[in-house]
Assembly symmetry: D2
Homo-oligomer: 136 residues x 4
């Protein structure tokens, strides 16, 4: 298991007319968490992409527990539990930093493709080599 943490502050424009963060933004926060995760692992997404690999999203799910609002700081915990093969499953839990309450949880499945051909591939070696120590 390999886990990464990130704090993000809610931005004004991310709230909607209910006065709370629009639900679509958590899907974006998940991505912010994933990009922190892969950088913590040692391979920033821009380096991965420079090596010719992209990670298109295959599916997302998100379960909303509590709203968040302007002024809130969100604590994003991103976890990968299994060594990725053709796909990588990324689990995210977002809590309100101040109260510790769970705001939402989700799972995102991503694949790997070659940027030039757009054809799928297995987890690239430059990422795999950094992940194996966590799963041995």
């Amino acid at each position: 298991m390999v886990t990464s943490e990130l704090d993000l502050e809610v931005r004004y424009y991310e709230t909607d007319l209910m006065g709370i963060v629009h639900h679509s933004n958590y899907i974006r926060y998940f991505e912010c968490g994933r990009n922190k995760w892969i950088r913590d692992v040692g391979l920033p997404i821009e380096e991965l992409e420079a090596s010719g690999i992209m990670m298109p999203v295959s599916s997302v799910e998100c379960h909303y527990k509590l709203p968040s609002k302007m002024g809130d700081v969100l604590h994003i915990v991103t976890t990968v539990k299994e060594m990725p093969m053709a796909r990588i499953n990324v689990y995210t839990t977002i809590t309100n930093k101040k109260t510790g309450d769970v705001v939402c949880t989700g799972k995102v499945v991503l694949g790997f493709i070659h940027s030039d051909t757009r054809r799928p591939t297995r987890v690239p070696e430059n990422l795999a080599v950094r992940l194996r120590p966590f799963f041995e």
Copy 2:
């Protein structure tokens, strides 16, 4: 079953550096489809909200099949299959208008709350009365 259709054109700023629509935007397109659906049903979301009811999202899931890109027109089909009670399940299929290929499919579950107290309620009567004919 009650279904609604909407065509949306991909906007430039909705594409990301992969050159394709960012996955989070489909969650937003789902909402555009739902708002068209509820208006087609006869109760625009702004009227529902004016009547003191909001519909917070409880969960979303989206399965991505094919990318879409600048210049594409998306065809959004929004379907409600059962009479809502405490929650409403909304199914969406997005296809590429030109090719007919499925871009993504998803399901969103929403609740109903009183705007003032933020307490949950069953489907409000002003919506229920418009939906019953479809499910009898």
Copy 3:
């Protein structure tokens, strides 16, 4: 002078906790208007980009007159008043479709660059040829 028109409906997620469209979104609506304009001129932006030219934004200004809100339809009028050379000046006026009131006005200046070298260039011939008839 060459002008183009586009109607856009306000989307729920574009409103903020003031209950009105977030001011940053009008900058995006300007772009929707420009992309309709260039398509009306006969050269969709994706074709222009396929020909190796991109149009980075050099400056924007926007003057806000009236708010718009969920349910509003916006009427976007995009105008180019002079034949572009190294830059193109695009003027936009957004009105509320129903009331006719001006919501905002703005001006965006864009340049032309070669996609590969990112070096500036003059208005490309495939665009110029379509614009000259309007300015002769």
Copy 4:
């Protein structure tokens, strides 16, 4: 003069198919800078709004100098140079944190309104009292 600083990391979904941050996002970064500024001054925007005052944007302008891309950290400097009266002029400069190069500069003019009546007012006393020391 009163100045505030904020560092923000570019988010993946903020880039467009040119591979760079979409120009509309800088208008949003300006707002992030303003919200940091007003909090540094001692009156978080959510407190100002709780006191019944909102700050609608009257105009924005932004001059783009250099693109920024995924992985970049932006340094946002927000400055108010005169004591606000009916309006407040906010100047922002965004630089690339690593290189120090200017990415863009801008000016945003905001008014003050009562949330309930939406009528304009002068700078509210809870904000004025915190700003006067900087301008005496």
